[in-house]
């Protein structure tokens, strides 16, 4: 990629800088209170709590960069968590089958989103909101709480650590690395930026824009499903409320935008999204250390999201 193209796409460096700064402040504030922010259990906690949102946000980044949006991810998380735990049903031999089924369901829902957006030309907001309602209705009609169970072996994904690093972090790292290579080292990734930047121009220059949007949505579905699988392993089973309770739909969009990606598409970096997810996790951790009220936490989150995006808009203007 040339320097000019690089500049156009933007850099995630400012977001990482803010993350480092935030981390430093968190360290200081907790130290003044007599705690140790960088204690291994706390760091593990931050990493662990970033995984679920991080996986969803990677997929969300792909669709937002392509000029689309996915509001159905929260229920994809739920449906894949329930699918994994019902299919596995406590038997270690069924782990591969359960994984395949859960990721497959995510891919199918993503494909459905993409097909409605591309084929029927429905606005992505409405298409994925509609999909989210459809999935929610079916899921809640079939299950009302935990269903099935994941085998103990599978809970390793949620709880084990290798040399102090949680296993789930490797999963997130692998997904991020894969998505990064796809976005920045392949023709498809280049097309994603082109379609998100200006779909008419992309079409005129011979890119099959519909296919790009479709594939981005399938990948977003698979990423959300991976998050659901992780949550099932963490909770021991899947339940219909795991996705919406985590607020993964709006939170993932907030993380993408907080990471410096334009909501209109075509501009932003995947690693910015990851920095934003870590930022939110660091914030949560500080709030938890001080046992701050959950409502203060929500309020501050809202202010930070608006403030950050206003700052980006201001920087762009000047």
């Amino acid at each position: 990629m040339t320097a000019a193209a690089h500049r156009h796409v933007g850099s995630s460096r400012p977001v990482w800088l803010v993350l480092v700064l935030l981390f430093g402040v968190a360290w200081l504030v907790v130290a003044l209170d007599g705690g140790n922010f960088v204690a291994l259990p706390n760091l593990q906690n931050i990493a662990q709590s970033s995984v679920a949102l991080g996986l969803v946000a990677v997929g969300q980044s792909l669709v937002v960069l392509a000029g689309s949006l996915d509001l159905s991810v929260a229920y994809v998380v739920s449906v894949s968590a329930v699918t994994a735990s019902v299919v596995m049903n406590g038997s270690a031999a069924d782990i591969p089958l359960g994984l395949a089924a859960a990721l497959g369901v995510g891919a199918v829902i993503g494909l459905g989103n993409g097909a409605v957006i591309v084929g029927l030309r429905v606005n992505p907001f409405i298409a994925t909101l509609g999909m989210s309602l459809v999935v929610r209705g079916i899921l809640n009609a079939l299950f009302d709480n935990f269903a099935g169970a994941v085998p103990d072996e599978f809970q390793a994904l949620g709880y084990d650590a290798v040399a102090g690093v949680p296993v789930s972090l490797f999963l997130l790292a692998a997904v991020v690395a894969g998505a990064w290579l796809l976005l920045h080292r392949t023709r498809f990734g280049y097309h994603v930026y082109a379609v998100g930047g200006n779909i008419e121009a992309a079409r005129a220059s011979g890119i099959r824009t519909g296919r790009v949007v479709l594939v981005a949505h399938v990948l977003a579905g698979v990423c959300a499903a991976a998050s659901g699988v992780f949550l099932a392993s963490r909770l021991g089973a899947g339940a219909p409320w795991v996705g919406p309770d985590g607020g993964y739909d709006l939170e993932s969009i907030a993380a993408v935008v907080l990471g410096g990606t334009a909501l209109a598409g075509g501009r932003g970096r995947l690693l910015g999204t990851i920095a934003a997810v870590l930022m939110l996790a660091v914030l949560d951790s500080v709030f938890n250390q001080f046992q701050a009220n959950a409502f203060v936490q929500t309020l501050v989150r809202g202010v930070i999201i608006i403030g950050a995006v206003a700052l980006y808009a201001f920087r762009e203007q000047s």
Partner: protein, 315 residues
């Protein structure tokens, strides 16, 4: 009249009315008493909060933006009214003014952040949703406290003569909104702003002011909707839950296009009634409550797909 002009006339009827009539016929088929005037009025009363909310959302959507904060605003208004009023009827008049004023302030803030700071309205109103949800329960300590006075609740549940208050209020707001959107200079400018922002700017429309005003209308009508809901459903920590997406669904069912420039007051009302009627019908058919979501989802996607198809074939 020739066949061609009849066909042309039919095409101009918003498809949502056909959907509404079909659903209403379905309801009357399952429950003939639904056609009695009192039952019908009760249905309109039940739909009034969503319909009022949808009219506010409509202005924002036509101007090219989106308001996701209305659900949280409704909850905030209901909880604040109970906390401040503590069931004392003598406080009702200023609480109503305060609630309406609060709606206006939230609208102004949404509008200014979106236009002056250039934050996409999706993010602005999402942030506002978090701020309102956090702030109001921080204030009341986690759960709603206090009580709603009887004379505060009358607007949502009592009648003037044979007609519910809510129906009269909805009618008045609908007429006012109709003149504002379809018969005034401001209305033209709302359409112009959403239809082509740059062109509107060049032809002298104060685009920012139009957008801020639209957000103010949305906030104000959300506050009215909160007063109606407080009467109808009472005090609850999730009074406004789901209303953000439902109001957008209603507006879109009524043919408005996300992105701006298209929509109408009548059709948006039709969308709100159709959505409420659909819930009633599914209830009568004995369908499991969660499946209502599924049907709502299919319905809005189908409606928007149909609108997109018509737009292409008309071109």
């Amino acid at each position: 009249m020739t066949a061609a002009t009849t066909a042309a006339r039919l095409r101009r009827i918003a498809p949502i009315w056909v959907v509404l009539v079909l659903v209403l016929v379905g309801i009357v088929w399952r429950d003939p008493t639904f056609a009695d005037p009192p039952t019908l009025l009760a249905f309109v009363k039940r739909s009034a909060p969503l319909a009022v909310l949808a009219l506010g959302q409509l202005f924002v959507v036509i101007s090219g933006e989106l308001d996701l904060s209305v659900g949280a605003l409704i909850t905030a208004c209901v909880v604040a009214a109970a906390r401040l009023g503590e069931g004392d009827p003598s406080r009702t008049w200023w609480i109503i003014l305060l609630v309406l004023g609060f709606g206006v302030v939230v609208g102004v803030v949404n509008g200014l952040i979106t236009t002056m700071l250039r934050v996409p309205s999706f993010i602005t109103t999402l942030g506002m949703m978090l701020v309102l949800g956090g702030a109001v329960f921080l204030w009341t300590g986690g759960s709603p406290t206090g009580a709603l006075a009887e004379n505060f609740r009358q607007y949502g549940r009592e009648d003037i003569g044979p007609v519910p208050y809510a129906v009269v209020i909805l009618l008045a707001i609908a007429v006012a909104a109709y003149f504002l959107l379809h018969r005034s200079r401001f209305g033209h400018q709302v359409f112009a702003t959403g239809g082509g922002t740059r062109a509107a700017e060049l032809s002298g429309v104060a685009v920012r002011r139009i957008r801020v005003t639209s957000f103010v209308l949305s906030g104000l009508l959300a506050a009215v909707s909160a007063i109606l809901l407080a009467g109808f459903a009472g005090l609850s920590a999730n009074a406004g839950q789901g209303y953000d997406f439902q109001s957008i669904s209603a507006v879109v069912l009524g043919g408005a296009v996300l992105g701006g420039g298209r929509g109408g007051i009548g059709a948006a009302l039709g969308g709100a009634f159709a959505l409420q009627a659909m819930f009633t019908l599914l209830n009568l058919l004995g369908m499991a409550a969660p499946l209502r979501d599924t049907v709502q989802g299919l319905l809005i996607v189908a409606a928007v797909a149909f609108a997109a198809y018509r737009l292409r074939s008309n071109r």
